[in-house]
């Protein structure tokens, strides 16, 4: 690597944010890395690690009042100040690709005008030459029917196509370096695979250096040559991908890589660096189990599945006053499955496949258009069932995706957790309810004084624990988990998934787990249904599904998902 002069060389970079109170927040400290021609260098870390800050610094797009306090950034051996570019020009020498292709393009201008304006800002081209070049670029990034797309507006393209246009803009002036900040995070697995292939091709064929900022270890394994792991503003480990991922040296790197869910084998638990707060929580969990049994739900000894979904269908946009002549959209189309007592059942699929709609119907947030749902033999949703009201809902509770919105910011945690207990009359007095809340908080591994605080005092992972505690407070028999960890950092995800496993073991709960992440499903579920466009394409025991998938779609998904196990060049 040292034989070739690096395209990008960052040396001991320090980035600071002056605070209003006169202090200084150091976002990045002593960061050094370099990128050779044709190299894809992944910068990974959890939120707040400083990886995006480095990307923005190279692009001269640091959010005010952030500034480069010391250190240098050099392109092709030439140091430059990204805020005041001289010889090095943003857009010509360095291209950028951002996370969300839906908002990166100006909705009021055509694709052509957005590419052409970039070209003409840097190169002496007339309009027709620029247009010809734009057409070439669209071909190069693999847009079908490029002539027609030139005159299209961004909203007429799909997300994947838009990201290709964004890449075309970034490539317009043949930059030496591309900074790609989470370029595939907003995309589905199959589109992600195409965009990653495109980026890899650009590096291999044109010798462009790519700084790839990402949180996804699978993406790193699939396309990067080199990886740099960051933690709280510092680089903790850097080196060739295979070496770092297979054999990390730093403690944090080990923990981070250990926390990534594996898709190849099922582990009993995620390995944790600190096995804290496990023992004392055990007693609380036993008590919870006793309390849950004391509710006296009808015995589950009968030979019926706990939940049985039969020919379920859900339409959106139908009905009176839908407006704009919208035709009904069938989100769920004739879906049937059963969940047995004590089982973890997974529903997996890409966005828009209908899995969240099913979660909403099962939890009673939405009425089905057709079909029936039985819970413990009783019809709870369907054409002939009255909508469940009030206390009848107790047995099915839900955990949500976004920990930052799942707790009411204006209520103390104690009151949030007590609400279902009091509403279902599971405690005779307020004091009894408070005791229950204490038990719940302990069972999810938080300190007892948490009850006195407001939600904003807690981190994302802690909030998700509270969300789980609220669901448990109702002493439910089934918990619907809708993407419970997809907005969490990977190490926190591992903790939450461990917690769910432990609680399931301790209380005998049944879980319906909705996720887009095949690896999470593999680690958690006993049986899995794969969904596509509102239908179930394959349903099997988890082991069978992952080792011997039957449906083409399942096989395709499994082959496309970037995973830690498949490191580039090794397979």
């Amino acid at each position: 690597m040292s034989a070739v002069a690096p395209i990008l060389a960052i040396d001991r970079l320090r980035i600071e944010y002056p605070l209003a109170d006169g202090g200084v927040l150091t976002a990045v400290e002593g960061a050094t890395l370099s990128i050779a021609p044709g190299e894809i260098h992944a910068l990974v870390g959890e939120s707040g690690a400083g990886k995006t800050t480095i990307g923005n610094a190279v692009l001269g797009l640091l959010e005010k009042p952030g500034r480069i306090a010391s250190g240098t950034i050099a392109l092709d051996g030439q140091p430059f100040d990204p805020q005041r570019p001289g010889a090095v020009r943003l857009g010509r020498d360095i291209g950028a690709v951002f996370q969300d292709p839906m908002t990166s393009l100006n909705p009021l201008f055509t694709i052509e005008s957005q590419i052409v304006e970039t070209l003409r800002a840097h190169l002496p081209l007339d309009r027709s030459a620029a247009r010809a070049r734009a057409l070439e670029l669209l071909k190069a990034v693999g847009i079908p029917e490029p002539e027609r797309r030139l005159s299209a507006y961004p909203h007429q393209l799909s997300g994947g196509q838009r990201q290709r246009v964004v890449i075309a803009c970034a490539l317009a002036c043949e930059p030496r370096l591309l900074v790609a900040d989470e370029p595939t995070t907003a995309l589905d697995v199959s589109i992600q695979a195409q965009i990653l292939d495109l980026l890899r091709g650009l590096a291999d064929e044109r010798g462009i250096g790519i700084l790839l900022v990402t949180h996804n270890m699978g993406v790193v394994a699939q396309i990067a040559d080199t990886v740099t792991i960051m933690h709280r503003g510092h680089i903790v480990e850097s080196g060739p991908v295979a070496q770092v991922l297979r054999n990390p040296q730093a403690d944090y790197a080990k923990a981070l890589i250990g926390a990534v869910p594996r898709i190849d084998i099922r582990l009993d638990r995620f390995p944790m660096l600190d096995g804290a707060n496990q023992t004392e929580a055990g007693a609380a969990r036993d008590q919870l189990r006793a309390k849950a049994l004391a509710v006296g739900d009808p015995s589950s000894g009968r030979d019926v599945p706990l939940l049985s979904v039969d020919n379920l269908s859900v339409d959106y946009g139908a009905g009176f006053l839908a407006g704009r002549g919208a035709r009904a959209f069938r989100a769920v189309d004739g879906v049937s499955f059963e969940i047995r007592q004590g089982e973890v059942f997974g529903l997996v699929g890409e966005s828009g496949c209908g899995k969240t709609t099913i979660a909403n119907v099962v939890a009673g947030l939405r009425a089905p258009t057709g079909g029936t749902i039985r819970f413990d033999g009783q019809v709870i949703a369907g054409a002939e069932a009255a909508p469940r009201k009030g206390k009848a809902r107790r047995a099915i509770q839900m955990i949500f995706q976004d920990p930052y919105s799942s707790l009411n910011a204006r209520m103390r945690v104690g009151r949030i957790l007590a609400e279902p207990i009091l509403f279902y009359e599971l405690a005779r007095t307020r004091a009894e309810a408070e005791a229950d809340v204490g038990l719940l908080i302990e069972a999810v591994g938080l300190p007892a004084e948490a009850a006195q605080r407001f939600p904003h005092a807690f981190s994302g992972g802690q909030r998700q624990r509270l969300s789980i505690a609220r669901a448990l407070g109702a002493r439910p028999r089934l918990i619907v988990c809708d993407e419970p960890t997809s907005s969490l950092d990977v190490s926190v995800q591992a903790q939450i998934l461990n917690l769910l496993k432990d609680l399931r073991d301790a209380t005998g709960l049944t879980l319906l787990l909705i996720s887009h992440d095949l690896a999470v499903i593999r680690q958690m579920c006993d049986r899995v249904a794969v969904m596509r466009a509102g239908r179930i394409v394959e349903m099997a025991a988890a082991e069978t599904l992952f080792t011997a998938p039957q449906a083409d779609y399942t096989r395709q998904l499994l082959s496309l998902v970037p995973t830690l196990e498949r490191i580039r060049g090794e397979v």
Binding site: A409, F423, H456
Partner: protein
């Protein structure tokens, strides 16, 4: 969020302090008018036509009894202004309260239930909004006077005015609260209590309402300024408060008739007080709006 808000509150700019102080002083002076005004302008025995149109004390022909001069009936202008500001603020505040209560209620219902309830409320609001405030208020006030002659009396006119202003303003609250309610309803904490099965009323009042009140306070502040202006305009046009119980707008209307004869103070002093009051409220409202607008955070 709450922490950062309180930190921002501590960094209130000087101009906002001054503006708030100005508004508070005017409101306090108006509230205490019966105690601090030199005369009682509603007491017919306290003034004399002989004193009419006396200029302010500091001008050459000023009368020491009347600091800001007298109006066309010989009333002390300062006293009339203090009492007038009282009327203006009460009507403006009343209109804001009525509009806020109706608007927040309907907005919550429309946003929470959606469907045809939402469509009906919002289409009705659209129709109301397709008329400017002033035209609608003029119509309501004008028609009320034709139907009930008593409507122009000092006792009934304030209520007619409150209704005439609020009939337009509630839509703004309803739109804002509806939009915020739809956002909040889709958020997971509301979905969580829906899964629990709490009754709708409890979800709306206990969970959603506290989370949508921020923008409502901003609108209420800005609308207070607007409502005071609308009342002044109606009174200026002659469909508001009667001259026997004048608001600031009525005083300006009276003064307007004398502007050409060089008697400028009857119109100008009440106008100045009105502008200062509204300006103070607007500056505070403007700052509040920027405070609650996340997109403007951290900007100058």
């Amino acid at each position: 969020m709450a922490a950062s808000l309180s930190r921002r509150l501590r960094r209130v700019p000087l101009s906002v302090w001054l503006a708030g102080l100005m508004a508070v002083v005017i409101v306090a002076a108006a509230a205490l008018a019966p105690l601090i005004a030199p005369f009682d302008p509603t007491d017919l025995t306290s003034f004399n036509l002989i004193d009419a149109e006396l200029p302010p004390r500091f001008s050459p022909d000023g009368d020491p009894r009347f600091l800001l001069g007298t109006d066309n009936q010989g009333r002390d202008l300062l006293s009339a202004m203090l009492y007038g500001a009282r009327v203006s603020i009460l009507i403006g505040g009343g209109a804001v309260m009525v509009a806020a209560v109706v608007g927040v209620g309907l907005g919550l219902i429309a946003g929470y239930f959606g469907g045809w309830v939402d469509a009906a409320i919002m289409r009705f609001g659209d129709i109301i909004l397709s008329f400017p405030t002033i035209l609608l208020a003029l119509l309501v006030a004008g028609v009320a006077r034709m139907l009930f002659p008593a409507a122009s009396s000092a006792e009934w006119a304030p209520f007619i005015l409150i209704g005439a202003i609020a009939i337009h303003e509630w839509v703004q609250y309803a739109r804002t609260v509806r939009a915020a309610t739809m956002v909040e309803s889709a958020r997971d904490y509301v979905r969580a209590v829906k899964v629990i099965g709490l009754p709708s009323r409890q979800i709306m009042l206990r969970h959603i309402l506290p989370n949508v009140m921020g923008p409502v306070l901003v609108i209420a502040t800005i609308n207070l300024a607007a409502a005071v202006l609308t009342e002044a305009t109606l009174s200026f046009l002659g469909v508001g408060m009667p001259p026997t119980y004048p608001s600031l707008g009525t005083l300006i209307r009276i003064g307007n008739e004398f502007v050409f004869s060089g008697v400028w103070w009857i119109a100008l002093f009440p106008a100045l007080l009105l502008v200062l009051l509204v300006l103070g409220v607007n500056i505070v409202g403007d700052w509040l709006r920027d405070l609650f607008n996340p997109k403007l955070r951290g900007r100058g």
